[in-house]
């Protein structure tokens, strides 16, 4: 700069300033365009409306179910006797002679609740003893329901009552009375019956007891050893269906494995015919290229629709859908890898009098193997995640279980369990493929 004369220096500085100014202007224009686009899309998506359509009560059920469960104590007027069932499901029903210790049966049914409240089921309705408030009497009169508060009490906001229904909410419990049924829901943290269902002899035992039973104590059932019994009862758990879930996870990995490796096996020989330095003819090369483009361009969604019609729901259909799109992808990338090899190595092998197959085996394969292997492993890993989505659509694997559990909108604890398993599965495949890549493809 110091060598420049004063006017020349001014010109350079002006040029520089103008350059910066132009670049800044371009940056601002780009940001404005992006902001405009986002504004348009958000208006088109009706983002403002989303807030009004949101269902917070759903979020509450979901969050509650993620880490707690409820037990229903139901007296149905159309059925005989009291029913105590976890999540109100037949699979979680307590035997009438083995109710939990907070349900007292006798002349009257009394339910103890975690915050000290007590509910007494009477002939004509129920009494709810709410701590610090007093006794609330709910009586059923034909189709009508009457509510009587303790003398002088105001209607609190945790009671909602109409002529045909009374709802009372406490901490960790809820009570509801309708003309047909009296029901108490008692909440407790944790996932219910995760290992053993109520009909299993191992239900309700602590970790120490179970270890003792498995190792040295006498058999609970003569037919099977304690350890085998435990494994079998967990595997066939009716509430959580652990066996089915493990199978479903296996199916998902299988879909990814069969689809990816099958596509690799088919695409590899075809890639030779589509690579410019190996293709026997221009026409074959171009035809294959277009075919690869076609297989890639037909979206996985389209393949799924077509294949489900022919093969029906199941893991094979999912594997074939992965196979179809990936054959196109691999054909393209493998042939590109083949085009990028060093011809000298092949010439060197040829100079020793090697035939075509030997030239390919010792001249070409060592050069492309790392690229191809790492591609295969990368796709295997990413297809494991896709297989969850594909499974949900073609009906196989963990994706199917997940969508079923979500659609029933009831068993959110199962949904969260599946999500945990899916993430663990994908991360495990991720590390496995990373380990294999490091192990087999050095450098």
């Amino acid at each position: 700069m110091s060598t420049l004369s004063q006017p020349a220096r001014l010109i350079v500085e002006m040029e520089l300033a103008r350059g910066f100014g132009r670049r800044r202007l371009r940056m601002i224009a780009l940001l404005l365009a992006l902001a405009g686009y986002l504004a348009y899309v958000f208006a088109a998506f009706d983002i403002a409306g989303v807030a009004s359509r949101m269902r917070p009560e759903n979020a509450q059920t979901l969050l509650g179910d993620f880490w707690s469960h409820k037990t229903h104590v139901t007296l149905d007027r159309r059925k005989e006797g009291l029913e105590v069932a976890i999540e109100g499901e037949a699979k979680g029903r307590y035997a009438p002679n083995a109710f939990p210790d907070w349900v007292h049966t006798g002349a009257q049914t009394v339910v103890d609740l975690p915050d000290g409240a007590q509910i007494i089921y009477t002939e004509t309705g129920a009494w709810v003893d709410y701590p610090g408030f007093g006794r609330i009497t709910v009586t059923r009169d034909g189709r009508r329901i009457d509510l009587a508060l303790p003398a002088g009490a105001q209607m609190p906001d945790w009671i909602s009552a109409s002529r045909t229904r009374v709802n009372i909410t406490g901490s960790w419990w809820r009570f509801s009375l309708t003309p047909a049924r009296t029901e108490t829901f008692r909440y407790a943290p944790g996932w219910e019956l995760f290992f053993f269902t109520l009909d299993s002899p191992y239900h309700g035992k602590g970790l120490g007891d179970l270890a003792a039973l498995a190792l040295w104590e006498p058999r609970l059932e003569p037919a099977r050893s304690n350890f085998a019994g435990m494994v079998e009862d967990i595997w066939t758990n009716k509430m959580w269906r652990h066996g089915d879930v493990v199978w479903a996870l296996g199916e998902t990995v299988l879909m990814a494995f069969l689809g990816t490796m099958g596509a690799g096996l088919v695409a590899f020989p075809l890639a030779f015919l589509a690579a410019s330095n190996f293709a026997p003819g221009r026409l074959i090369r171009l035809a294959l290229r277009r075919m690869f483009d076609f297989f890639r361009g037909v979206d996985g969604l389209i393949w799924m629709v077509i294949l489900s019609r022919a093969f029906g729901p199941g893991p094979l259909t999912g594997a074939l859908a992965i196979f179809m799109t990936d054959t196109g992808t691999f054909g393209k990338t493998f042939s590109e890898a083949l085009e990028n090899i060093d011809a000298k190595q092949v010439e060197g092998i040829a100079s020793t009098g090697a035939n075509g197959a030997q030239r390919a085996r010792f001249g070409v394969v060592p050069q492309v193997a790392p690229v191809i292997l790492s591609q295969l492993l990368y796709y295997l890993e990413s297809n494991t995640r896709s297989a969850t989505v594909i499974g949900a659509l073609v009906g196989g694997g963990i994706g199917l279980l997940l969508t079923q559990a979500i659609i029933t909108q009831k068993d959110w604890e199962e949904v969260s369990w599946y999500i945990v398993l899916i993430i663990a599965m994908v991360m495990a495949m991720d590390s496995l493929s990373g380990w294999l890549r490091r192990r087999f493809i050095k450098g």
Partner: protein
């Protein structure tokens, strides 16, 4: 002579062992493929042998219907075009927002750039979890909370995109030259300025290239999410399929739109990426 023979014997033994390992791996692979196929075939509703003879039934049926009513096709293409735009918008916005989040996550999880180096593992694990989350999981849960529409799909794709791109971005940023950053630091530049002016220009081409590739992937994901109930062309495809016979011309129109879009975007982004990574030739 005996001395010279030893390494040769060693070498031969090594080769033999390598071949043995190769053969074992190959056998294992074949067994896995064959038994895996058996299992998948057994657990499928229809068998492979039976299905393969019917592969072309459905395409034949819809194509013959489309050929018969080919006059309807242009009308349907126009009718479904707005849904296609919605699908593209979901993918584009998710790629944009996901890309920005990924850039932030990447900077926070790269050694030498992170503002809080101790928190690097936290950000890495967060990205791993986001990456492992299949879009359909987030989308279905959000549909339950927010109702149908494009927003659940958008958020679902954003979650996965920020994790996936974040990892790639961070790999690029790790290879960035730190000298410009040091130079900027010597002039008293703040952390944000160091990243923006020191690292930004170095990583911008590769980051944009990865983001474009992600956009291609996200279009496909967005179409699939439409199928499970969040708007766009996937939803139209589902309804058209439910109408069944007689309405297959609609299905063909949607297939056509999807196919053309994907080929078009792929071609465009291939060219753009080649230019980004190789760079423009400056005279």
């Amino acid at each position: 002579m005996a001395d010279a023979a030893l390494p040769a014997a060693d070498y031969l033994a090594l080769v033999r062992r390598k071949r043995l390992y190769g053969a074992i791996l190959l056998v294992l692979f074949i067994v896995l493929m064959a038994s895996g196929f058996q299992v998948a075939d057994g657990r499928n509703a229809g068998s492979f042998a039976n299905g393969i003879t019917h592969v072309f039934d459905f395409p034949k049926e819809i194509l013959s219907e489309a050929l018969r009513d080919w006059r309807n096709l242009p009308g349907f293409v126009v009718k479904f075009f707005p849904s296609l735009i919605e699908t593209l918008n979901i993918a584009a916005v998710a790629t944009l927002i996901g890309g920005v989040l990924a850039a932030v996550l990447a900077v926070f999880s790269t050694r030498g750039l992170a503002l809080w180096p101790r928190a690097i593992p936290v950000f890495r694990r967060a990205m791993d979890v986001m990456r492992a989350m299949p879009e359909i999981v987030v989308a279905l849960v959000l549909i339950f909370l927010l109702g149908g529409g494009p927003v659940p799909a958008m958020i679902a794709i954003i979650v996965h995109t920020s994790g996936a791109l974040g990892k790639l971005f961070s790999e690029v940023a790790e290879n960035a030259d730190l000298k410009p950053v040091e130079g900027l630091a010597s002039t008293g530049a703040g952390w944000l300025q160091r990243i923006w002016f020191g690292v930004g220009p170095q990583v911008a081409p590769n980051w944009s290239s990865y983001a474009l590739l992600r956009f291609e992937i996200n279009i496909r994901a967005s179409a699939i999410l439409g199928f499970v109930g969040s708007g766009g062309i996937g939803y139209d495809l589902k309804t058209a399929l439910q109408w069944g016979q007689g309405k297959y011309d609609q299905v063909v129109a949607i297939f056509l739109l999807l196919f053309l879009t994907i080929v078009l975007v792929d071609t465009f982004s291939d060219k753009a990426r080649a230019r980004l990574v190789r760079g423009r030739v400056t005279p």
